[in-house]
Symmetry: C2
């Protein structure tokens, strides 16, 4: 693809904080941004040239969005695949592609894909009935993790089963949604890698970050993490396999579990810029948001070298109310997403703290 | 003043690239931005939550702007002082103050103010008639620089007089506008200092930058410049005198001429964020735009330490058309302002090139 010229219009499906930071990066490169999402006063709409307020399935609104955008991307992985297909059918250029979105929306398709390209995962079982669950528990043993196949995030839609008696309650909590039972991973650390691929197949990978979750929600990322060269190369190889296997153009995040001997298994693929990549805003000259915009616009990918080691801490719910103290911390930068209601667990902002010059 | 809480509305008079970068910084801190300016698709409006499209003298629009903003600032020094006075009369909180704007809009008032607070300037003469000009030339000698008192920028509205015969043509070129004749400064270098002051009187100064102009327009700034400690202290002292003398809250830029022996004389005060401060976006953790927003919002001022030495180069007119090559330069970041017409001399963007880690 020829690089999109200055002034071209980048359409973004989704209007949250990821869209906000993508929009700001796109503006900095001289693009105009059209945000599509359900809320008029969303984090992304309030920093963008144009905003389309509509449901993701509104075909009339999607028609207008397609007409207003030179390329369309997304910041939200639960955009319906049918909406992407519809946009493509109307002649829109959409990236990442619908297949990549469809695979990563479904935990079973995602793990099957991973294995098909030679990436290890935990053992897993497709669960469509209580009977399936019983057989899976018998085969796998306990504890094991029961999750909905789709739409879970931040620890929602998942429950640990530690004893056979808990199976029925766990299964009922799914309310009939298709599910997956995952074996427990005996991991020592959780790391992630943010990587980008251009239309020409160029791949660039950011240094590995180490993540800490609290109650299933990302709390901090330290990057570049202190890891062995072996781990680094393995993580980069996995990211490359994912990008190439999905014929992906743009930035994605790959969450990995680190086992004994620095063996890596895939936890999850996020088909978008990712919370564990926010450290790049202050660690690198080209952050993940600019990188994604470069990729989808057909610009050459930017430098992923880390200049600083950064600890990113999410400001969840009322954490953000400490903005006065946070804004006075030395060696740090504060990012607030412009959301009104700091309800518990809601991602309201983050702070990047510089730990070391590299 | 109590710090404005997250979600407060920052009004910005002026809709150019400085407003754009101020708006992005304000959003990052969690403020909502209301831009006021003459153009609907301006650099600032396209990245801001709300935009008011009106002339600066439209009282009905100013009323609405005042009602929509918790604090109002400006990015354009030719906003009429009467408009600020009007906003204040309607109960708006406006900073920097109207007196500071009025003084810095007028080259004679500005130089008188500078001298009143102990800052050196070139010799200057008020010119209201050809007769004034003749007397001034006789007193000062030639060459000398004839400028309009108001509204010149980027070398517009000024002409060198090198011989007495040129006086009449030069005077006529003013079209009757009040003017100033300035003695030639035998300067070795041009430097500038960007500084901020809070409501509580706290002052923070960024490292001195060295500037190069081409045809009267800023071409590059290198900062921190290689300067003596004496020069550094003198520049900081001047910035502090200006900020305090104007009872200024916000960021301003002070352009200085460096004479033999690191003596400094004031060239110009810009009552706003300044082109020679764009290097701070990549040199410092808190750039001049965030700093200005912090100051006007009553937040504690941010860190002005330089982490990198940066060379900022303006992309004037067609320079920006080289974006493909510019976007591939290592150790650099590109900023494009979203303007459509790259006419010669127009500020279309800039690039910050990292020169050294500090």
């Amino acid at each position: 693809m020829k690089p999109l010229p200055l002034g071209s219009k980048i359409g973004i499906l989704g209007d949250g904080q990821l869209g906000r930071m993508l929009s700001q990066a796109a503006s900095r490169l001289g693009f105009k941004v059209v945000v599509y999402g359900p809320d008029a006063e969303s984090p992304a709409a309030s920093v963008s040239a144009v905003s389309k307020v509509a449901r993701y399935t509104d075909e009339t609104a999607l028609d207008r969005f397609a007409a207003a955008s030179d390329v369309i991307t997304f910041e939200f992985e639960n955009v319906p695949v049918a909406s992407l297909d519809y946009l493509v059918s109307k002649g829109a250029k959409v990236t990442p592609n619908a297949r990549a979105l469809g695979i990563t929306q479904d935990r079973i398709l995602e793990k099957r894909f991973a294995r098909s390209v030679g990436i290890n995962t935990v053992d897993f079982y497709e669960i469509n009935s209580l009977d399936d669950l019983g057989k899976a528990i018998a085969a796998n043993g306990l504890p094991a993790l029961l999750k909905t196949r789709r739409e879970g995030y931040d620890g929602k839609g998942q429950v640990w089963i530690r004893a056979a008696e808990e199976a029925k309650v766990a299964f009922d909590s799914l309310n009939g949604r298709p599910a997956i039972l995952e074996a427990k991973a005996d991991f020592l650390r959780e790391v992630s890698v943010i990587a980008a691929r251009g239309y020409d197949g160029t791949v660039k990978t950011y240094p590995v970050g180490e993540n800490h979750h609290v109650s299933g929600i990302l709390s901090t990322t330290l990057a570049p993490a202190v890891v062995s060269d072996t781990l680094k190369i393995r993580a980069e190889t996995i990211a490359k396999k994912v990008l190439e296997g999905l014929d992906y153009v743009g930035v994605l995040g790959v969450e990995l579990f680190v086992l004994e001997g620095d063996e890596l298994i895939l936890n999850e693929i996020a088909p978008r810029v990712h919370n564990t990549g926010h450290w790049t805003q202050d660690g690198c000259l080209c952050d993940q948001f600019e990188q994604h915009i470069r990729a989808v616009a057909g610009w050459p990918l930017g430098d992923t070298t880390a200049r600083f080691q950064v600890e990113m801490t999410n400001l969840l719910g009322p954490d953000v109310l400490a903005w006065e103290a946070l804004s006075q911390e030395p060696d740090s930068r504060l990012y607030v997403y412009g959301k009104d209601d700091p309800r518990p667990g809601r991602k309201m902002g983050h702070i990047n703290r510089l730990k070391a010059m590299l």
